[in-house]
Symmetry: C2
Subunit: 199 residues, 2 copies
């Protein structure tokens, strides 16, 4: 199970942050297994042993990052959605997409870290997606009671949506080293909108 020692001084906080930032960068660039402890401590400019002041092992650090990034992303999406007065599922989804892509840009790490988590800690991996899925399921059923969608299977659609976002992000950020433009986002919104809307 994930464990972080909470620092008790300002210095400790700074050090922990340096380690996490370095780890996020490296895990996302090279992956979990190819990233060495020495790489992380060197980039963070601390001694090897310092990492073990905060984390009992490499896996705990990985899980800590994954957990933190997942929480952050969910919070950002939730906040952005609640600020929008148009509560139709399509408008809300347009916001989701924008926040997701902008989050991937800012934390390119999350994306790649989660991608490989399947082989690092399967339970954490499953948990990550099931949480997002649950959010979608709730929204889709609410939208359906409002008559906004056809009678779709919300579980299937939730994974379809996550797949779309993940792969389009993969294409843009990883393969093309660019990022989705407005036209791309509109393509996705339209595709999804026609895909789930009531006829």
């Amino acid at each position: 199970m994930e464990y972080v020692k909470q620092p008790k001084t300002k210095r400790g906080e700074k050090t922990l942050k340096k380690i996490c930032d370095a780890a996020e960068t490296l895990f996302s660039q090279k992956g979990y297994y190819a990233t060495e402890i020495k790489d992380i401590t060197q980039l963070a400019k601390v001694a090897t042993g310092t990492l073990y002041v905060y984390f009992p092992d490499k896996l705990s650090l990985f899980l800590h990052l994954m957990d933190g990034l997942g929480r952050k992303l969910r919070r950002e999406i939730r906040d952005a959605k609640s600020k929008c007065t148009d509560t139709s599922i399509i408008e809300q989804e347009r916001i989701s997409i924008r926040v997701f892509f902008s989050f991937v840009r800012a934390h390119f790490g999350l994306f790649r870290i989660v991608w490989q988590a399947q082989f690092v800690d399967e339970a954490a991996f499953k948990n990550y997606y099931e949480r997002f899925s649950q959010g979608y399921i709730n929204e889709i059923s609410k939208a359906h009671t409002r008559g906004e969608t056809r009678n779709v299977d919300s579980t299937v659609i939730s994974y379809a949506l996550m797949g779309i976002y993940s792969f389009v992000a993969l294409k843009c950020f990883v393969f093309d080293k660019s990022e989705p433009d407005d036209a791309t986002i509109e393509q996705l919104v339209n595709f999804i909108s026609f895909g789930i809307s009531a006829q």
Copy 2:
């Protein structure tokens, strides 16, 4: 670059196949990094050194599997599609989905092997998806000239489709340890159909 020594005797052929089968199983269960050479040779019931008769190293074996599985999947999809008289993009896509899921069931390995290839060999990983994407792009543009689709961005949609299939397979095969039923497949066909069809 990937390299396999082609066996020159019956015995050699059998041995190579045993090694590949064992490796597919193990890579897909535990991932590339967690799979040890000893695991593979033990499951294949050959000595450690035998693996190195056919592959110069672990990575070559991985790339060989990935390449072979990708080719096989593309061929199966192509064959199944060509056997279908209804050439509308939706019908053709329904076939794609079915073949894909049945392929994942038979070669659960492919799916997980490719998933993690991003951190093993990025070029091979990109190449794998770009090839499938190219196929979709061709079909979507042909379908558009026949008036079957809206004026969609075929590149974006190609990655959206691959994302949908990959994530729904993830949900069913990996998380639920079951497989997509007909209702699920119809959900996907409808979603995609409404999503791209001309209005």
